[in-house]
Subunit: 148 residues, 2 copies
C-alpha cells in the first residue's frame, strides 16, 4: 500500500514538473494575437554608413526585445543582392506596446543617430493570415537557435 | 535509509524530466543558423481570387511547417492597406530542406492551383543581421500564441 502512494507521488511530481515547464513560456504578459501589430519596415541606407548602421540597428533590436515585454519581434534582415536594402519584421503585443517603444531611450538613440544614414523609409502594416500555425513555427525556430 | 533513496529517486526523476522537456525543443533535425535560407516572397494576387488564394496558401503553409522538419517558417501576411499584396517570411533549415520542399505534394498543389491567381511574384533572399537575439524573439512569440 505504501509503495502505491510512492508511485502515485512520483507520477504527480512528473506531471506537475511538465506543467510548470510548459507554463513558464507563457509569462505574465500574455496577450491575444488579434491585438498584435505586425509591420514590415523597408529601409534603404547610404552605402557609406552601412557597417555603422548595422551596429546601431543590432543594438537597438536586441535591447528592445530584451527590455520591453511588449516588443515581441524586431527581426532585421538585409537583401543578399543589395546589402543597403533592409527589411525588419516588427511584431508588437498591442498598440500601447508600440507607443511605449517609441519613447524608450534605445529607440530614441537609434532614431537620432541613424537619421542621416537613411536614404528612404517605408513602414507597412501587415496582417497574419494564420495565427494557428504560429506556435509550430516558433517551436521550430527555437530548435534551431538553441543548438548554438 | 530507504527513504533517502526514495527522495533521491524523486529528485532524479524531476531533473531528468526537466532535461527531457528542454531537449524536446531541439529535435533531431537541429542545424546551424548559418545554413538557414531566409526569404521574403512578395506576391500580388488578382482581386477576384483573393479568398480562394488565402485558403490555399494557409493550407500549404500549415502543411509545410507541420510535415517538413526542414521548413522552419512559412509565415504569410498581407498588407492592411492592400489585401492583394502578400508577403511571406520563409525560413528553411538549409538548401536541401528548400529543395525537398519544392517536391512535396502540398507545395506542388499550391503552385499549380494558384498559377492563374498570381499577378506578380518576387522572391528576395535575405540575411539576418543578428541570430543571437532570435531565441528571445521566439520565446516571446510562443508566450503570445500559447494563450489562445
Amino acid at each position: 500500500m505504501k509503495q502505491i502512494f510512492i508511485v502515485l507521488g512520483m507520477l504527480f511530481m512528473v506531471i506537475s514538473c511538465k506543467t510548470t515547464t510548459k507554463d513558464s513560456y507563457q509569462g505574465d504578459e500574455a496577450a491575444s494575437p488579434d491585438e498584435m501589430l505586425i509591420r514590415i519596415s523597408e529601409i534603404k541606407i547610404h552605402q557609406a554608413y552601412l557597417s555603422e548602421y548595422i551596429s546601431i540597428l543590432k543594438e537597438e533590436a536586441e535591447a528592445s526585445v530584451r527590455l520591453e515585454p511588449g516588443v515581441i519581434s524586431i527581426f532585421p534582415m538585409f537583401q543578399m543582392e543589395d546589402s543597403t536594402e533592409f527589411r525588419i519584421l516588427e511584431i508588437y503585443r498591442n498598440k500601447e506596446a508600440y507607443e511605449s517603444h517609441l519613447k524608450t531611450p534605445h529607440f530614441k538613440k537609434y532614431k537620432t543617430t541613424t537619421l542621416d544614414m537613411v536614404e528612404s523609409l517605408k513602414l507597412t502594416d501587415m496582417e497574419a493570415i494564420d495565427e494557428e500555425t504560429m506556435p509550430d513555427i516558433f517551436l521550430k525556430l527555437r530548435s534551431v537557435v538553441t543548438v548554438q
